[in-house]
Each structure stands twice: as C-alpha cells, then as structure tokens.
C-alpha cells in the first residue's frame, strides 16, 4: 500500500531523536483521555453508595493513565498509518521525535502500572475491566480490526465505551445493568461520530490503506449507516431515565440532544454533494462530541447534586 515518497513502517520505526515531556504527553492522546476520564467520572458518581473523594480521584487518575497507555501503544503500532495521513502526520513518532520502541515501552509501563494501581487503590474488578479495555483496544482494534474490516470502529468502539463501567466498578466493585446502558450509549455513539470524520477524510484513509466504511462500501452506504445508528442512539440515550439513573433534567436533555443528533445525521444522509455535504458531515462530527459531553454532564449534574429523584412526572411511571 505504501506509495513512493510516503513513509513506510520501517522508515518510521527507524527514526530516533528523543522527545521532550510534552511529546510524551501527546503520545497519550490527551483529548481522548479527557473524554475517558469524564465518562468514567459519570459512572463513578452515578454508582450507588459512597466512595471516598481521595480514592475516587486516585481511581480516575489510574483510568486516565490506562487510557493514555492505550493511546501510546496505538501510536506505536499505527506509526506507519499516521505518517501517511494529514490528520496524524504531526504526531511524535511520524515526526521522528520519539521512536516507536520508546512509545511501546512507555505505553507498556503505563498500562501495567495503571492496572496494578487501580487494583490496589480501588478494587480488582475495576482493574480487570481496565486491563481488558487496554488489551481490546491494542490487540483487537489496533492490531487486527483497524486494518482488516470496515466494521473496525463499530467493534473497536467497545474499548472507548467501557470507562463508565470502570468508574462504576471502582465505586461498587461490580458491574450492573445501569453501567451497561452507559456503555451501550457510547458504543452506539461511536460509529456515527467516526464515520462523520471518515467522510471528511476519505482520501486520507484511502491513501493510508485503512478500510474505513466510506473507503470500502462507499459514501452513500456510510450515510445510511450513520442515520441507522443515530436512530438507535437517540432513544437509547433516554434509557437511563427509565432505569431511574437519570431524572427530569436528564430526560429532557436526552430527548432534545437525541432529536438534534438525528437531525444532523439526516442532513448527512440527504446532503450528498459538494460543500453542503462536507458542512453536514462537519456539523455532525462537532455535534456528536457536544452530544456525548452534554448527555453525560446532565447525568453528572443530577447525580452530583442529588437531583436524580426530582424527576418530571412521566406517563409510564405514574
């Protein structure tokens, strides 16, 4: 797949310079880490019972480092792909600031350390979930699915969806239906989020040889799949309210946010040519980030301030 003039895996892996601290931090994908910590925090706060604030902060720190470790290991393995894509070519390994071997060692140490620390500071159920998540992201998604199937981010999305369950497990020592629903929301949110991005970067993915859905099945099929997943996601976002996890604020937020999500997805489905199509995909991508943030923020506010029981009267609960 490598074209003339593009960095091959061997060229990328062979460079060596020694990066500075900020570049090692960049290896941990800080923006992804923020989303992971935020959703884990919601799982932790929404869980029944009380967790000492110090232990909660320590658990979140371990989850953040674990997520960062997975990011570093992903950058190690995907260095060749990253070098060929405009969006990722400025990452520390393609730029030759950190060698792939250094990134692998850095990621491995952090992965093992974060799992052990979470086990010691919270409990081993949460630690096992964290270990499974890192392993799934690195071995199943990065090494296998990403380069072999257009369903890569559908199945691989499971790794990014687990953090609320880890947070919940850190607080309670178990997993539950409620935490599984939070997992499902992120799981169903992932495909439309990444496919909106893939529609914008389809040539980039094509050049790098990554079989994203628009590359393999075409843009029209991708738009159809985005709409289908969005139609499932919108009602799924309301399920925490039915389980008693979310109250009035959450119910209203989930309803409106979900409706807007479908609206943006429908725009992607209908606008298929030119600048309008690009704008629709950009809007959906930006809105999807806002959607997940606001949905979980509503849950966090309700649970954090004890508002979850002040629900609006619902017909099916009266």
């Amino acid at each position: 797949m490598a074209e003339a003039g593009l960095n091959t895996r061997a060229e990328v892996l062979g460079t060596a310079e020694g990066g500075d601290v900020a570049e090692y931090f960049a290896l941990m994908k800080p923006r992804v880490m923020f989303l992971v910590v935020f959703t884990a925090l919601v799982g932790l706060v929404a869980a029944p019972g009380h967790m000492h604030p110090v232990l909660a902060v320590a658990a979140l720190l371990c989850i953040a480092v674990g997520a960062g470790a997975a990011g570093a290991l992903n950058m190690w393995y995907d260095a060749d792909i990253d070098a060929r894509m405009a969006r990722t070519s400025a990452r520390p390994i393609p730029r030759g600031r950190i060698t792939a071997d250094e990134a692998r060692a850095f990621g491995t140490v952090l992965a093992i350390g974060s799992v052990i620390c979470l086990g010691l500071m919270a409990n081993w159920v949460a630690a096992c979930l964290l270990a499974l998540t890192i392993a799934f992201y690195v071995f199943v998604y990065t090494m296998w699915l990403k380069r072999s199937t257009p369903q890569n981010i559908v199945i691989g999305g499971a790794a990014g969806a687990v953090p609320p369950m880890i947070g919940w497990a850190a607080a309670t020592g178990t997993v539950s239906l409620e935490s599984f629903v939070l997992f499902l929301i992120i799981f169903m949110w992932t495909p439309p989020h990444f496919w909106a991005l893939a529609l914008l970067r389809v040539r980039d993915y094509e050049r790098a040889g990554v079989p994203m859905l628009p590359v393999v099945r075409g843009e029209d099929e991708t738009r159809r799949q985005i709409l289908i997943y969005s139609l499932i996601l919108a009602p799924l976002g309301c399920v925490p309210a039915l389980l008693g996890l979310g109250g009035g604020l959450y119910t209203i937020a989930a309803g409106f946010l979900g409706a807007f999500f479908v609206m943006f997805a429908y725009a992607v489905y209908t606008e298929r040519q030119g600048a309008e199509a690009e704008r629709a995909a950009k809007n959906l991508f930006a809105y999807s980030v806002l959607y997940l943030f606001l949905l979980f923020a509503a849950l966090l506010v309700e649970q954090g301030f004890g508002l979850s029981h002040s629900s609006i009267p619902l017909l099916w609960t009266s």
Binding site: V54, L55, A58, L120
Partner: protein, 48 residues
Amino acid sequence: MTDEEDERQRRQRMRSIAIAWALAALVVLFFVVTIVRLGANVAHPLVK
C-alpha cells in the same frame, strides 16, 4: 558541544525531572490512599 547535542541533553534532563516528579507524586498518592483506607478500616473494623 554542538547546539543539537545541547538540545538533546536539555530534553533528557527535562524527561528525568518529569520522571522524578511522577515518582514522588506516586509515593504521596500511595501514602494518602493508605491512610484513607486504614482510616476506613479503623472506623469500620471487620467483625470476625
């Protein structure tokens, strides 16, 4: 010593300092977590 070598050594020094801070923070974190967990066990001792 060239500018490039100076720069390389500066980055190495910064990395060493960052590792030292991270290790110190880990020690403090372990200490505080131990105290918290110890405190919880003293407040609610296991009945045998």
